[in-house]
Amino acid sequence: MDRIEADRARFREIVRGRIRADLGRYLSTTELIARVGEQAVSVPIPQVELPRFEFAPGSDEGQGPGGGARSEGASPRGDGKAGEGAAGDVVGEHALEVDVELEELAEMLGRELGLPHIQPRGRRELESEGARYSGLRSRGPDSLRHARRTFAAALRRTVASGTWDPARPRVVPEKDDLRFRAPRPATRPHSSAVVFHMMDVSGSMGREQKEIVRLEAFWIDTWLRSQYRNLEVVYIVHDAAAKLVDHDTFFHVRESGGTRISSAYELCLQVIRERFPQELWNVYPFHYSDGDNWSARDTERCVELLGTELLPRVNQFCYGQVRSAYGSGQFKKDLDLAFGADPRLVTASVAERGEVLGAIRAFLGSGR
């Protein structure tokens, strides 16, 4: 029965191959995002089952006896409460779900898009956990036994118990005397990053535009999380005014009214100043909008904020312009005009879901 683990390993290998081959499709659907857990995401895989001659679903009332479509499954099963058979057969018709570690998904994404690994900026380092065997404890494997400390403990006990005989200085360690090396948290430098997702939620950003933003934000987070051990995410929404929100609100809120992009940039700047000093943090602001700003004056204000305050503080500032029925798309043109080839500012436009991939590549392809 231990061999089942080998079968399972092979199954997982096959599934990963499928996901890799099909990554483009997964990248352009929001289906995955709803399935993210703490560490892993559960990915629906269609068609892993082998094909057979079988009836079309619904070609009758679909009232088949349990196990009809599965040969192995029809072997005598236990008295499953609520019917093992009943539960099993439903699953057979649906896509199979497989848990994939987020890290693995990021690695697939990186390979698919040819993303370079990010070189964190040198001085932005934090102390963090690592482990070195500098501690002691009284239980452990023999290979980690600390002979000198064990002897010391045994000696101390022998003397204290009064059995110490200077004429015959024998010390026999007992179980309680044993000491073993133990890992002790040690400090090691490593890097941290903060991501700002800023979204325009004015009336012109519709459901589809928000879905696209959601997709981009998800994959960007997934990638950056694999590059930094400590990633913080800050969500900002704005129309004419900006505010900090949590993850759920970011993805579901619907505001309306005008658009003043500078409000978001000001808030972003304020948060960076207060919480994320640039010596300690790699900073990645992302801003998504449909490119319609309130006025040319506000756009000037944005350019000024970017040039003098934001860009010097960040690794890279990304602007993603999502095409909507109402947006003019002017803002991207203005930014491109103002900053031209500045590598700290990347802009991309996304007309539909299929283009999300290209935008992510543009944003993350520089490895900054």
């Binding site: 029965m1 001659f53 009758d60 009332e61 009232q63 349990g66 409460k81 019917g83």
Partner: protein
Amino acid sequence: MGSRSRGSTTLPPHLADWARRIESVARAHGLDFFPLEFHLVDASDVHALAALGGFPVRYPSWRFGMEYERLEKAHGWGQARIYELVINTDPVVAWLVRSNAESEQKLVMAHVCGHADFFRHNTWFAGTDRGMLATMARHAERMREHVERHGLERVEQFLDGVLCLDNLLDPHRDQRRLWARASSESLALPTHDVLAWLVEHAPLEDWERDVAGIVLAEARYFLPQRLTRIVNEGWASFWHSRILTGGVLDASEIVDFADCHSGATLQAPGRINPYKLGLALWRHAERRGEDLFRLRSLHNDASFVDELVDAEFIASGVLPPPARPRRGQGSEALERDPRHVKERLLSELAWGGMPCIELVEADRGRGLRLVHRHSGRDLNFARAGDTLARVEALWRAPVVLDTFEKGSPCRLRCHGGQLERDDGGAATCIDLAS
């Protein structure tokens, strides 16, 4: 009995005592079975065993791994719980889950007695290999040798291709051979035993023929279980109730028993639970004064339903109403019409719930023709096309399948991995070269 004491060694003494007691009660009721071997296993082991069809040693395949993962997940979500597995061998091996409550263990042991009696005496099981534990282990050994010699990818790809065809069997093979008094193993066309025919005639390398033969042997072994789910589970449930409530359980355990029993016979709306339907049919048979032991020797699900479902049974309401009413045709009254209800059930049970596919013509040069004997339900065309491609890969020449879609004839042709579909009324057309 020697083997019984051998099997009992893995049960703690008090359970072994119960096993002996339950067995003797079962035998006193007239059940007759090969010696029973009970083993206690952990929940995770039972998932592995279930994924492997109840057999601890089988050839390597990712499909078992997939099933294992599915079971573990379903268990984790509380969707399914396996109490026991029993396999059709001599001696009968039954795996009991260690975490079952004691009253559950008793129920499960009595249930196993019912299955064991059914395996031994039901005519559909007459031809099964009772030494399957050892046979499967030999299959595993041979498959590993093939993998070592020809590489995992190659063997796996071939194996998966053959597994797609493992339902192309003739459920009536044993009977047919009996009637024909055929001494030769060789098959004549036309035949429903498509996989067997391919194993014999397809241009395969030796190792490929061996792999295909292994798939065939194992599929044949499992087929009777697919044909007798309702009647077999019903029989076992009928007897576990009778044995347990006839003095084996003490009063304090009856409620636990009822809870466990009702859980197992719970029926989701619009869906048949073989435990519930089977049990109801057996009780109905008893009410009608039938010879129960004769019935359990003769019937598979389809013939059992045909024999026992009458107006009175349908009125009892055990058969679930259709999950969703058919639109456009028929009324509530038709759905409730006993003849209609019975026919619908029979059409689902016929041929083990699989499409009836017959191989009618095979010619090396011109190809191979399969016909789907349509009985009211269309094929899943996407899957049928994929499957047909696997047939072609095995036969290494063009393959066609004639069927119907929405009442009109339809032909699928696979040539060089390319699928074509022809709706031009080709069902009776025999000319493959066209």
